[in-house]
């Protein structure tokens, strides 16, 4: 399993990626976190969410074997935030 987070946008418009390939006992912990993310709800709200007011905010793309989602920074709360921060921390921050 590979989980990849790509951050784009922001004032600087710089692209940055982090990824993790959990194995062994770690994999179960990651699966629980992935299951906690509301993928279906986020998919439905995606167009409006990405077009939310404001400018220069980051945009996060999350890729897993089963899901692919793009989220505005303002939606990065709860399990989404936990997931992104875990991936970032696991890949050097």
């Amino acid at each position: 399993m590979r989980i990849e987070v790509t951050r784009s946008g922001g004032f600087a418009g710089m692209r940055r990626s982090w990824s993790v390939q959990p194995k062994g006992p770690d994999e179960h912990r990651w699966c629980r976190l992935l299951d906690a993310c509301p993928w279906d709800e986020a998919e439905e709200s995606r167009p409006g969410a990405v077009g939310s007011p404001g400018a220069d905010r980051f945009v996060y793309a999350i890729e897993t074997p089963e899901h692919s989602i793009t989220l505005p920074e303002s939606s990065l709360v709860g399990p989404w935030r936990e997931l992104v921060e875990w991936v970032q921390a696991s890949d050097g921050g």
């Binding site: 600087a12 418009g13 692209r15 404001g54 400018a55 220069d56 905010r57 945009v59």
Partner: protein, 361 residues
Amino acid sequence: MTHFIVPPHLLRRIAALDEESAGPAPTAARRALREIDDLHRFRVAAAKEPTVRPRSAVAARSPGLLAPSRRISDAQCTESLPGVLVRAEGQDPTGDPAVDEAYEHLGDTYRYFAEVHGRDSMDGLGMPLPATVHYGVRYENAFWDGTRMVFGDGDGVIFNRFTASLSVVAHELVHGMTQFVTQLSYHGQAGAIHESVSDVFGALVEQYSRSQTAGQAHWLIGAELFTPRVSGAAIRSMAAPGTAYDDERLGRDPQPATMDGYLDTEEDSGGVHLNSGIPNHAFYRAAVALGGYVWEHVGRVWYDTVTVADLPSDCSFSLFAEATRTAAERRFGSGSAVTSAVEQAWDEVGVRLPGRSQVLS
């Protein structure tokens, strides 16, 4: 206001001289006369129609009363907005560089729009300028959240604090203005125009505050943001998009300068910070072609385009270019040096204007 050292009657006499005996002076004099003519037309047009177009029925303040109302808050390293108010208009410096830079740079930005365009704040009606500093922990960004400007402290490794740069603070305030006066969506080419407008006026605010001409300005956006560890001059270059930085960790500045390098991507809201290099470079080319103080010619054209032209939410580069040409014609006249420079600039970056299929000579 522009002042010419050589009076017009003398310029006319020099312009009439023979080039073989008088060298380059007659050509320079003819150019100066054209600029005076452009300026005269602009002043006549400006007298006929107000620069500011209030979008509500609320009466604007009279020009003599224009003054900013800055409100700087401190998020205290959280991501809660607005944070604690730490410096309101007229209050003394706090000693916190982020707070005081935000206050001063918002003042510079307000002053530019008030003195050059007669505009009273983002909405043209004197609304307060709210900003929050110390957002998040080592947060490496600045943004406009739809109601306020927000600045991070940077990670200290790649980025300094974002308030350190006047062009960045002005960039964020101009996002607010663009939100108030246009319907531009923040995606694709319309979003790249949104971004470019913020860079254009970010550069102009800086040039105005430093009394710099087109030739003296560095045309960099965010020149103060990188730490010395980064191999780069700034975040973006309007003079040479794609060359602002080339760093081992960050890679190379990805901005295209012309339509040949246009990036078709879904990342970054459809490449808004990437393809903005194209309209940025068009503005730069028109500005340096005319020389002098840019806010007196091309800056006015862009301001009119944003505040007067009814740009659609999905505005394309071509539509925007056409709107700038129309604005240039209205301010300075068709066939004027300013209109020609604007047309030529769009042509040079590969954005086709209706009725223009070949490169101008």
